[in-house]
Each structure stands twice: as C-alpha cells, then as structure tokens.
C-alpha cells in the first residue's frame, strides 16, 4: 500500500493549481508575442519621450499627420509597395499553380533535379541573387524600375508557391477531373470547374504569403530599385536611424495590410498541414 501512496498523483486536487499554471503560461506567451510592439505603438504618438519615463511626457499626432499627408513620401511608397506585392503575388500565384501541378501530380525523369531547382532559391539568400543580378539589370535597363523589382522578387516567391501547390496537388485525387471529363467537360472546363475550386484554398494561402514576402522585402528592392523605387520598407529603414516616432508610425502602417490579409485568410489557413515553408524570410 505504501508504494501506491508514493505513486499517488493527487489529480483532483491539482485542478485549481493547474488552471493557475495554464493562465500564467498563456499570459507569458501573449506578453512575449505582443510586448515588442508596445513601444512601437506608443512611440508613434509621442512627442517627447525621454529616458527614464515609462510613459511619454507629451503626446502628439505629428508622426501620423506626416505619414498621412499628401506631400510626404509615405503614401506613394505605400502604393508602390502595394503595386509590387500585388503583381508579385498574382504572377507567382499563376506560375506556381502551374508548376505545382506538374511537381505534385506528374512523375517524370529529372523530377529530382527540378525539385532541387525549385528548392534552391528558398535557401540561397536574396542578397546573393540581387547582388549578382544588379549589373545585368542595369545593362537591360531594368534597374531602378518597378518592373525590375517585381522580376527579381519572383525569385523567392515562385518556388514557395510551387512547393505549396505541389503539396496541395499531391493530396488531390485526379479522379475528380476524370469524372468531369466523362460527364462531358473539356480538359479546360474540368480544370476550372472541378480542380481549381479544390486547390483554391491552398492557392489563396500561397499567394497571400507571396504577397507578404514581397511586401516585406528590403535588400532586393534596395539593390535593384537603386533607391529610386521607394517602397515602404525602404522608407522605414531610413527613418529608423533618424526619427523614431515617424519610424514607429511607419511600422504600424507596414503591419496593417499583413494583418488584414491574415485575418481574411485565416479561414483557409486552419486545418491540414501548415504549408508555410517560406516564412523564415518574412
């Protein structure tokens, strides 16, 4: 009997203690995730906030007024970022959809090589690629242009969409398309009416995260865009070393579309394997 007493686990008595531990754990986790953003938010509305004040001595909306004013460079930079990110996500989405189908459903000679080719841009740093391409882009007149920036940002995004779609397709039962064909649908219609809706959630997730990758990209835009193509990250970077209040406001502005996108796509994100292989770079 004594051995059992030693082995006793007082489970029912543990319940309130366990709930406290759970609560503390949650609290810590949420604090850790949210804390770094707190000074950013506060800085964006502070006028004077020197050490050792925990709270600003004077608040002001100066930074936000600057950010939103039509004269400043912020709104154009925002729009430039938006344009580039949208273009990249659409193009990478389409190209990745097509390549993902081949990789996910077909078996062919050279598949391993193709797989490595698709994987490589996810591993090799964007710095290397951009630096290597810069001279060529200059020669081709693509440097300092939005088109050039879009093109170079396809390098990290296309492989990502391809890999995600490849996983989605390999879970897809091709019999559905065959079924549509014997009911009279042409290959194209079978794809549009049957396959596309089935792989659409994965495509949405992949494209949205391609958007985020392009939206956050800095070094590629700097090297290829030459400082002429001004995106939000570039602007943020320059203010980060001069005016922290404006930089903070820009940070929040930078986060905004991303949060919106995530909220919208959370429906597609839940369930199944998390196909988020490229986010280390976000």
């Amino acid at each position: 009997m004594s051995a059992d007493s030693l082995a006793l686990v007082a489970r029912k008595a543990d319940r309130p203690r366990r709930r406290l531990r759970d609560g503390l754990g949650f609290g810590t986790l949420m604090l850790a995730l949210a804390l770094p953003l707190v000074p950013v938010a506060v800085w964006s509305i502070s006028a004077t906030w020197f050490f050792p004040d925990v709270v600003p001595t004077r608040f002001s909306t100066r930074s936000w007024e600057y950010v939103l004013s039509p004269d400043a460079k912020v709104i154009p930079a925002f729009l430039t970022s938006l344009t580039i990110a949208l273009a990249v996500s659409v193009i990478a989405g389409l190209i990745g959809l097509s390549a993902g189908r081949a990789l996910g459903l077909h078996s062919f000679r050279g598949k391993r090589i193709v797989y490595f080719l698709v994987l490589a841009p996810e591993i090799v740093p964007p710095l290397t690629v951009a630096m290597g391409n810069q001279v060529a882009f200059i020669k081709l007149g693509l440097a300092d242009t939005i088109l050039g920036v879009i093109l170079v940002q396809l390098v990290p995004t296309i492989p990502y969409v391809t890999l995600v779609m490849s996983a989605v397709y390999s879970n897809y039962d091709l019999n559905y398309e065959d079924q549509a064909r014997v009911l009279g649908a042409s290959p194209l219609r079978a794809f549009f009416h049957v396959t596309l809706p089935a792989v659409f959630p994965g495509l949405v997730v992949a494209a949205l995260f391609a958007f985020l990758i392009a939206w956050s990209e800095y070094i590629m835009t700097l090297l290829i865009g030459g400082g002429v193509v001004k995106t939000l990250p570039l602007l943020l970077f320059s203010f980060a070393t001069s005016d922290l209040s404006i930089a903070s406001a820009l940070c929040l502005l930078c986060i905004l579309p991303a949060i919106v996108i995530l909220v919208l796509s959370s429906r597609y994100l839940s369930g199944g394997r998390a196909n988020i292989g490229g986010f280390g770079r976000l």
């Binding site: 759970d22 949650f26 986790l29 995730l33 953003l37 707190v38 000074p39 950013v40 050490f51 050792p52 004040d53 925990v54 190209i95 097509s98 390549a99 081949a102 077909h106 062919f108 698709v118 490589a120 996810e122 090799v124 740093p125 710095l127 290397t128 690629v129 630096m131 290597g132 391409n133 001279v135 060529a136 093109l151 170079v152 396809l154 390098v155 296309i158 014997v182 985020l212 939206w215 956050s216 990250p233 943020l236 970077f237 980060a240 922290l244 930089a247 903070s248 940070c251 930078c254 986060i255 991303a258 949060i259 996108i261 995530l262 998390a274 988020i276 292989g277 986010f279 280390g280 976000l282």
Partner: protein, 300 residues
Amino acid sequence: MDALSSLGGNRPRLSPRARTWLLLSPALAVIVVLFLGGVFFGIIQSLNYLPLIGQYDLNLDAYAQMLADPAFGPSLILSVWIAFAATFLSAVLAIAASLFLRQTSVGRRLGTYLFQLNLAIPHIVGAVAMLLLLSQSGLISRLTHAVGLTPDTSSFPAIVNDRWGVAIIAEYVWKEVPFIGVVVLAALAGGTRDYEDLARTLGAGWRQRFRHVILPFIAPGVLSTSIIVFAFSFAAYEVPFLLGQPYPATLSVLAYLSYTNVDLNARSEAQAINVVIALIVIVLTVVYLRLSNRYVRTER
C-alpha cells in the same frame, strides 16, 4: 463518328511529358534566368570578371583579398554564432510553447492564431521594435529603472549594437518561434494523442513519451523549418544592420558595404563574400537533408 469523339474534340493531344514541361516552363524560366543567372553572375564577378570596369580576368584575387581582410574572420564567426543561437533557441522555445498550447483546444486555436499574426510582421518592423524595446534607453530599461534595478542607461546591459548580437538574436527568436511553432502545432494536431495513450499503458513516463513518441513526430517539421531559419538568420541583412555594430558586422552586411564601396574593385570581394555565404548555407542544407533521410521515416 462514335460518342467518344464528342469528348475533348479532335485536337492532337500533347504527350504527357510535353505537358509536364509546359506546366513547368514559366517557373523554370524564372528560376534559371533570374536565380541561376544571378548566382552565375555573382560567381564570375567574384572571380574578378567585371566588364563594367573593363576587367576581363578570371582569378581568385578577390577571395584572397577577402580572407586577408581583418573584418572577414570576426564577421564569419559572428554570423555563424547568431545563426546557430537563433535557430537553437527558436526551435527549443517553439517546441515548449507548442507542447504547452496543445493541451487545450482554446490554447491550440489561440496559439495558432497569435503565431500566424506574428508571421505577418516584417523583420524590419521587428528590428525597430527590438530597438525601442531593448536598447539602453528602451522600454525594458525604463521599466527596470522604474523598479529601481538600473539607476541609469549605462547600467542596463548593452544588447543592441553589441558584440554578441543579442538584440539580433532576440528579434530572430521573436519572429521564428511562431514560425516553427505553427508547424509543430500542426504536426501535434495530427494525432499523437493515441500513440501517447498507448505508450502510457505500456509504462512510458512523460520524458519517455516525449523522446519516443512526440519528438519523432515533430522532428521532420522542426528540422525543415530550422534549416530555413538558419539559412535566413545567417544571411539576412536588414536586422543586423539596424541592430548590430559596424564592426564586427555580419557577413551579409560586410558584403553589402563592400559592394557599395566607392572603389569598384571592392565589388569582387563583395561577390566573394556572397559566394561564401551561399556555399555555407547550401552545404548545411545538404547536411540537413542527409540527416533527415536517415532519421526521419514518417513523412508520407
């Protein structure tokens, strides 16, 4: 004609192989031209082939230059240190957080949601946030001052722009724990519960269950995300530039500074550093793939 001809028309069908390559061609075009092209140009520029300034050599001078550069060694060590520390810490914390969150369905959902929210935040924003949080006049310092721990800014440890890249590592950890965490949560959601129950009825305690049931299940996800985290934190530019010292800088910052040097000759050294960065990352990826093939058998 028979009924079959009404299906799909009478156009000549593409062979399956042709169809495959057709589907792959846009992606391959971009990858071959822009990616391989960029890498190729980087390599030959590192070999001193710079037509822009009329140099048509092919030699290893730039590499020699790079190795002789007193900044190279410390930069390499710093980059490796930051990458390993960030990756290790992120993986461990992500596993711990995920194991904690998965116990309740509320935790799972909330945790996944918060993790995903964090994923949407660009690293640049994270860098600014860490700057405002961790610098000697940052929010944490002010809080410790308010409770009387640090009488002034210099008594708060210098972890931004410091030798060890603490703030840099902190930013990476803050961003990558959710990244690895989402994958771990997904792997755990896939039903380790039954295996754990089974192991319990066979006498396995908590540590044994973790080692024999949970770890093998999450290992593939952790390994694949860790390699991505390592590759990123080794070669990133924005975060070390904002949060690090100019000397020693990480390899990527060193490369960029060399590249934008007024002296165009420094370009080839910059490309040499680039090549080194890419090589290190590729070698480690190959090592990971070998390791995972040997160790991981559960993947479909």
